[in-house]
Subunit: 250 residues, 2 copies
Amino acid sequence: MTPDGALAGGPAVILIEPQLGENIGMAARAMMNCGLTDMRLVNPRDEWPNRHAEAAAAGATAIIEGVRVYDTTEAAIADLQMVYATTARPRDMTMEVVTPCEAVARMKADETGCVRSGVLFGKEAKGLKNDDVALANAILKVPLNPAFTSLNLAQAVFVLGYEWFQLGDETEDAVLAVPKETRLATKSELQGLFDHLETELDDSGFFRVREKKPIMVRNIRNVLQRARFTEQEIRTFRGIITSLVKKRKR
Amino acid sequence: MTPDGALAGGPAVILIEPQLGENIGMAARAMMNCGLTDMRLVNPRDEWPNRHAEAAAAGATAIIEGVRVYDTTEAAIADLQMVYATTARPRDMTMEVVTPCEAVARMKADETGCVRSGVLFGKEAKGLKNDDVALANAILKVPLNPAFTSLNLAQAVFVLGYEWFQLGDETEDAVLAVPKETRLATKSELQGLFDHLETELDDSGFFRVREKKPIMVRNIRNVLQRARFTEQEIRTFRGIITSLVKKRKR
């Protein structure tokens, strides 16, 4: 629980004077993709609700419906305890500058201690005013190609959400997805394929140069080994061998 | 150098049957943000060049001008050696599924070995066809809110670019940015502020309860210490103290 009793679900996303409804909608979609829920607008250019925002949200209706609109940045952040300001431009201020990765790590740790965070995003093209940056505890700066750092508003929101989601996510870096009707082949099944293939190759005269046979067998086994056959694929390949052989034997 | 002699600059981004020029342009902008350069289109719905794409690229002109258009996915990936297919939907195929972070680590390692990679992105709303997925070495799946995994096309491209850029980036997690005309205060300068403040507080009767003075002093020093004053800010705060005292003394 936070000071005002709201449920904590990641940092609040605070868009200052957003101009295009489409960008608000795409930002909402990006938040929903990443499990963020709390969107706040300060002086949006167009009236709210905004049908362009709803369309661009592409189903992130819960975010759009929960949006709160404020007249000032001060009002929008009043209930928060830690605020980060996203900016790519260096400011002539003494402020800590953190990466998105570091920022979300701090927000997650803070959330555990019931400290509520929010992130300020400036208007399209212009970014945040210095007075808004000065309301923040730290600057959040996304490391990007120094020659082209201007991020689309929804992309900037997405970086925050993406890093937030990855922090708590436990997806394995790499897994072999196997359809549920089969499973990875055992070494005995793979050996069956090797034996079948090598017997037929012997029979067909493939190993003409006897002394080269051992290395040829090893090379064939290597590439088949790398493919990580399923039990079903072993059966398919044995069927292929049988079919090819049948044609030759006819 | 790659097999066809092209300069390697990160993975190729291959958009299959993209529908909206805006999305192609936003994807190009995202690539430019992240230092990716090689965009390829397979059967875009609208003719190419596309003015909506150019407008949405917001300055990523080099990417747009370098786009190559192909009739088939096979042709678009012909010069590549490793291909990843982005998809959120599980496919009934035996394929390795990797995170963006893992994928870019492999691509970077492969690039060192002159192995050229590319990533397939399916059309808006529908994603990749199974036949396109079957052309890839592995599936690239972005860990996201399981209840809302549908990423905007440009966001999907951005995830790839973002992870690619972060991998080679050496930005410090957190640094204190200090305007160049000043520097962080030394402890001696900070002690000067403490002494000045505490002397004036003594003089003004702030430490009425003598036995509480030590803890009050510690608490004041704690909060001032945390602020990490610059030398300039020390001077400003000493000016503030002098100014407030003057008012009282008048």
